[in-house]
Amino acid sequence: MSSEHKPVVAENISKTFGQVTALQNISFETERGEMFGVIGPDGAGKTTLFRILTTLLVQTSGSAFVDGYDVKGDFRKIRKIIGYMPGRFSLYGDLSVEENLNFFASIFKVNPKDNYYLIKDIFHQLEPFRNRKASALSGGMKQKLALSCALIHKPSVLFLDEPTTGVDPVSRREFWQMLDRLKAIGITIIVSTAYMDEALLCDRIALMKNGILLGVNSPAGMVASYNNRLLAVKGDDMHSILKVLRDIKVVKSAYSFGHEHHAAISPDFGGDAVEKISQELTARGLNDTLVKSIKPSVEDCYMELSAN
């Protein structure tokens, strides 16, 4: 582990598969010991980015470095110092929990006892099933085993590709608590997710859409840089409300957000936005609507950035 290098540096990475552009000029840097989140919907290019950074895929252009090593030229060195947990469970189902762990320790030439302190909290929960075959574990347990196996060689950078997709809410919270403890030990964690609420748990986040990096910032910084006024609108006929909102001139964008609609009001509008929108809705025959001013969330930032 070299301290003078940034753990991950991406410089204008692009990747095309035939006619399809999966990634376009992605550039970012991570700091040592930070939890860096790559946030975006399915198809944003998160997995492709991870596969390039973990040396599984070669970028079409641009360059990337992990701990100062080039992902193209020094892939052998990178493979020794990173941990990777793919989105899909990919341990050996016909080996037991313990055998999987020992196997991955042995191919990294480490003694599982030496680094046991790293995975103690996680593996502790797997102890009762140590002789069970990995394929017979529950989803949450499989994921804990996969994390243990990715950590057993004490990687300097840990890549987690959508670790919480398809995991129940309680296990998700537990999982992020485990990541916090790993961060405390000094492991740089790059994690991708499609859940916006998890973005808040990262130190910094990169928002991605259709292979383009929309912006990199801390969740708080991202929200602070949001310069529209945001309104939440609720009513009986949600479908018509959305249509009407999109017709109003001062509304930059409107989208459904859970059981309400969010409307971003252009900062150029000087008047009372709540008043204005309520009037417009009533004028078009939509009564009984509730309009209120709200604070933006990361998802609102994402909607704003992706609209531009």
Partner: protein, 364 residues
């Protein structure tokens, strides 16, 4: 590190519910059943005799047919039409039509003719059956010839070298061993690699320091060991069941078998590199396996193939190994006599394995 990789492969093979049983049972079934079933000897020919003469001489003729090992049943019918119906119903393979004037002609002129009609739906069986029947008739005619012939008769007596009793099993056993090695040594490890691709575990391996050579070697070695176990099983069975022992040395048998193992495993790897699913790999393998078997001289002699087919057999590694195996089993040739096929197999080993390694990319 390598030790653990091999250990992992063995654990996975042994834990597989199906594979260990298959690996043991397959060669045993093949060795017990196939040499009997895949028998090209034409036997059990059923004859319909139209005895128009109904005389002692004609009866003598078809009793002679009955006595032959090749013919299983002789049925006497009234007319040629009836015999033909019998053939159509697949109750009979060949018709021997003895004319009414049979005995009269023999007594008067010493000359007569019988008519042989053979069912040639299976061309090979038809023509062989006809020639067997003709031989019997020929023997009979010599026997009944009352006057000794003035002309000296040249009699041809053939003796089969290296397989004196012309036992088809002796010919089949070495070829079956070739098939077993191809399937176990070539196709199982390839399917294993594709299975890892499908499960996604190969990706997890690819982000580890395990190099591609090491990973592949760890996959092949267990199957090579299994290949040797199977070779030994077949060797023991061929001795016990058929009394067939290689005339050549056992060392040569194992040495050349390991060469072929390397060839087929390289071929299997090549297929696994270009396949992303098991289904795809299986289909490609069966495609090549069938062509390789049919073009190898396993069932049909290469010498009787048309020129273009012969040309194809030249690039079939199985053909060379069958050649080698038959030599080692039946003739016991030393390396000097086997030089040509052995050198060609070495070439295949280098070609397939180099190609496999070059086409295997961890980074794409």
């Amino acid at each position: 590190m390598f030790k653990y990789l091999v250990e992992k492969e063995f654990k996975q093979i042994i834990r597989n519910k199906f594979l260990p049983k298959l690996i043991i049972v397959y060669p045993i079934i093949m060795m017990i059943l196939m040499p009997h079933a895949a028998n090209l000897d034409i036997k059990n020919i059923r004859v319909s005799v139209v005895d128009g003469a109904n005389s002692s001489l004609s009866r003598e003729l078809y009793r002679k047919v009955e006595a032959s090992d090749y013919f299983s049943s002789v049925e006497v019918v009234q007319s040629y039409e009836e015999a033909l119906q019998s053939v159509e119903k697949s109750k009979s393979d060949i018709i021997l039509d003895i004319p009414a004037s049979f005995e009269k002609d023999i007594v008067k002129t010493g000359k007569t003719a019988v008519y042989i009609a053979s069912n040639s739906v299976d061309g090979m069986r038809g023509s062989v059956a006809a020639s067997y029947l003709a031989t019997v008739v020929h023997d009979y005619s010599r026997q009944v010839a009352q006057t000794p012939r003035a002309m000296p008769v040249v009699e041809i007596i053939s003796r089969s070298r290296f397989n004196p009793s012309m036992d088809y099993k002796v010919f089949m056993v070495p070829a079956l061993i070739v098939m077993l090695i191809t399937i176990i040594g070539g196709f199982l490890p390839a399917l294993n690699i594709v299975a890892e691709k499908e499960a996604g575990t190969i990706e997890q391996m690819n982000v580890t320091p395990v190099g591609k050579f090491l990973f592949i070697a760890a996959k092949l070695i267990p199957y090579w060991i299994i290949g040797f176990i199977i070779l030994t099983i077949t060797l023991v069975l061929s001795k016990l069941l058929y009394g067939i022992v290689p005339v050549g040395s056992l060392a040569m048998f194992y040495l050349l078998s390991s060469l072929f193992l390397i060839v087929v495993s390289g071929f299997g790897l090549l297929i696994s590199n270009y396949s992303s699913t098991m289904q795809q790999a299986m289909f490609v393998m069966f495609f090549f396996l069938l062509i390789m078997i049919l073009m190898s001289g396993l069932f049909t002699p290469i010498d009787s193939m048309p020129l273009w087919a012969k040309a194809i057999t030249a690039i079939n590694p199985m053909r060379y190994f069958i050649e080698i195996m038959r030599m080692v089993f039946l003739k016991g040739g030393n390396l000097y006599y086997l030089a040509r096929p052995v050198i060609i197999l070495c070439g295949f080993a280098v070609l397939f394995n180099t190609w496999a390694v070059v086409s295997y990319r961890k980074t794409t």
